[in-house]
């Protein structure tokens, strides 16, 4: 190849890159399919500034891990990163039906994604989270890209952010009202059947450590949504990472009912541990064992949470008989 041509290409591209970079946020008109669905656009403000997106997007790729929220809002994504936390080639079981037509492009909690796979889907709207900021520029060259800044703990905030980007706050609010009502009902029902003041604990057991769900995952469903009581001695969660304690720390938490999440190996190790076996809840057989796939990640998903509400009472009834 002629080295001069080559140099020219490089220089032009670098310059182009710089220019595009400086004007991030301005829409790129080079979208591949410009037909009527793209005709109407609107401006949304995201973590990066203002973005012009189609008013009625048809081919949404979401790699922020919020594909379930899009479903609730009435959009089906064509590419997703809501893969199972323990096997990135599969959907988590509770999203299998919803996502079955979407391509898996990675795992939302990782910053690397199959970026060519995203482009190949020919999206008209791309949703990323701040974890994937590094590819923002390259994606926004191809299609309008919205970066959602994920809240540290508050899933409702994430939910509302997605809804506001899609300008569909009403549907979101309706779903949330319904969800809250279901949660309160489930909470009241459990309270009346299993004691008003009973306390509940949920955790992930992994490699001899106990990750306590306090303000996130299953824990926030139990406490924040259903209004169940926290046991005494709970470590408090201040950011997205779960508090990690040892068996001794677990023994300091005095819960009446326990949801133990773990892989088969981890649960086996747990039930062999003598300290675990002398916990009050364990002696009273008040433990629900749940497989880590999907229950670990399910507590972080809106649809997953709603499904958990449907079954939580049955789970508790199942052990207390």
């Amino acid at each position: 190849m002629n080295s001069n041509t080559f140099k020219k290409i490089i220089t032009t591209t670098i310059l182009a890159g710089l220019i595009v970079f400086t004007f991030t946020g301005c829409s790129s008109s080079g979208s591949p399919n410009e037909n009527d669905s793209q005709a109407e656009t609107r401006i949304v403000t995201d973590a990066k500034g203002e973005v012009e997106i189609p008013a009625n997007p048809q081919r949404i790729v979401d790699i922020s891990g919020n594909s379930d929220i899009f479903h609730i809002l009435g959009y089906e994504v064509i590419g997703t990163a809501n893969s199972d936390a323990y096997d990135y080639t599969k959907y988590p079981s509770y999203l299998e039906d919803i996502l079955k037509d979407a391509a898996i492009l990675g795992f939302s909690m990782q910053d690397t994604m199959d970026i060519e796979g995203i482009l190949a889907l020919d999206p008209d709207l791309i949703i990323i989270s701040n974890v994937q900021e590094k590819m923002y520029q390259q994606l926004s060259d191809v299609a309008p890209t919205v970066m959602i800044e994920m809240a540290q703990i508050d899933w409702i905030e994430d939910f509302k952010k997605v809804a506001s980007v899609m300008e569909n706050e009403d549907a979101a609010e309706a779903w949330l009202v319904d969800y809250r009502q279901k949660a309160t009902e489930a909470g009241e029902s459990i309270k009346s059947n299993h004691g008003e003041d009973s306390t509940y604990l949920s955790f992930l057991a992994s490699g001899g450590q106990i990750y306590i769900f306090d303000g996130a995952g299953l824990g926030s469903i139990l406490y924040d949504d259903m209004g169940l009581s926290k046991p005494a001695g709970m470590p408090e969660q201040t950011n997205i990472s779960l508090p990690v304690v040892t068996y001794e720390g677990l023994a300091s938490i005095d819960a009446d009912f326990i949801f133990a999440v773990g892989t088969p190996d981890d649960l086996a190790a747990l039930t062999e541990n003598p300290v675990w076996n002398s916990l009050e809840a364990v002696k009273n057989n008040n433990v629900v064992e749940l497989p880590a796939s999907p229950y670990f990640i399910q507590g972080y998903s809106s649809i997953g949470r709603a499904l958990f509400l449907n079954e939580v009472e049955g789970l508790i009834d199942g052990i207390s008989n």
């Binding site: 936390a85 323990y86 096997d87 990135y88 795992f107 992994s206 490699g207 001899g208 450590q209 470590p235 508090p243 990690v244 304690v245 040892t246 068996y247 001794e248 720390g249 023994a251 300091s252 892989t263 088969p264 190996d265 190790a269 541990n273 003598p274 300290v275 076996n277 002398s278 916990l279 009050e280």
Partner: protein, 329 residues
């Protein structure tokens, strides 16, 4: 020589006291507040209640595991320095513990492997592989072994095994669990692990003490040892086998804990001189003391959370390592 023995007895006495004190603290205090009377009852007057379970099946085996593993790391470091004649040889700097870490990662990620072997055997296989390679290096040209070359080889081996383990953890989405394996810690010690440590590691440590006289001879240098009728290759091989077994049982319980095998023998040596009959048992005691106190710090400084114990051993180890490097060259 007499004075060295006397010093050794005195040092042994002090170290035993420190170890005993460390054990008492380890048993009496923890993330859960348990009254002292209950702690004492749980040893002498045991009932099946939660607090006593925590002491009996949580704190006590953990303390004993710390004593044993610390001792194992200390004695294997001493042995390694003796046979390689490299003053900064140490299992974790040589990539031996990383080999075991990789094997444990492999087994933890893959349930099929887990059904076949327990962690211990995996760790054994992993450290045997990396230990065998280190053995090869050290046999290659024992007369003319450069220290920095030896350490670089170990670093390379360590990087290699950690890379393999990282690949596994990325593909199975267990990256953060990997960090726990690599960082090491005693949180999952049980009575079973204590029994296993005591049986396998204890036996090997005894065996190690039996060959300490021969290690002394190898430590004199290749030509000297041969002229004294010793076969250095054989001693080196035996020592390596013992180190591999000791390291793998330690790693299978506590993961990768660095620097104990490096600093303890060195400090001991500066007290009692180049006599491995004294260095090795004292390194065992010294390692025990260091690890139980480091683990006490790890458990108690940020209750109810734990700090990685490797941070404390490194905090003590790195300055001493650098001081040694400056002094030796």
């Amino acid at each position: 020589m007499v004075s060295a023995t006397k010093k050794a007895i005195l040092a042994g006495f002090i170290l035993s006291l420190l170890a005993a004190l460390g054990i008492i603290i380890a048993v009496a205090f923890g993330s859960k507040n348990i009254p002292l009377s209950t702690v004492i009852d749980s040893i002498f007057n045991y009932e099946d209640v939660l607090d006593m379970q925590v002491v009996r099946n949580g704190r006590i085996p953990r303390a004993l595991a710390a004593i044993l593993i610390g001792g194992f790391l200390g004695i294997s470091g001493a042995m390694m320095q003796g046979v390689t004649r490299i003053p900064i040889a140490e299992p974790s700097l040589m990539g031996i513990t990383q080999g075991a870490t990789f094997a444990v990662a492999l087994v933890s990620i893959n349930p099929d492997f887990y059904a076949m072997t327990e962690n211990t055997f995996a760790a054994l296989a992993g450290s045997a592989t990396s230990g065998g390679l280190v053995l090869l290096f050290s046999m290659q040209n024992p007369r003319n072994m450069s220290i920095s070359r030896f350490v670089l080889a170990g670093t390379a081996l360590g990087t290699f095994f950690i890379s393999l383990a990282s690949t596994l953890s990325i593909l199975s989405n267990r990256t953060q669990e990997l960090a726990f394996w690599v960082a090491g810690g005693l949180r999952s010690a049980t009575w079973d692990s204590v029994a296993m440590l005591a049986a396998a590691g204890g036996l090997c440590s005894l065996a190690a003490l039996f060959i300490s006289g021969r290690i002394n001879i190898v430590n004199l240098g290749e030509d000297m040892a041969i002229s004294l009728g010793e076969r250095p290759g054989v001693v080196r091989f035996m020592a390596m086998i013992l180190i591999i077994i000791i390291c793998s049982v330690s790693v299978s319980v506590a993961g990768n804990i660095a620097f104990i095998g490096l600093i303890v023998p060195h400090i001991v040596r500066s007290f009692v001189g180049e006599n491995y009959k004294l260095i090795m048992p004292l390194s065992f005691l010294g390692g025990s003391v260091l690890l139980i106190w480091a683990d006490n710090a790890a458990r108690l400084l940020n209750r109810p959370y734990e700090t990685p114990v490797g941070l404390f051993t490194s905090l003590i180890g790195v300055p001493i390592f650098i001081w040694m490097v400056r002094r030796n060259s």
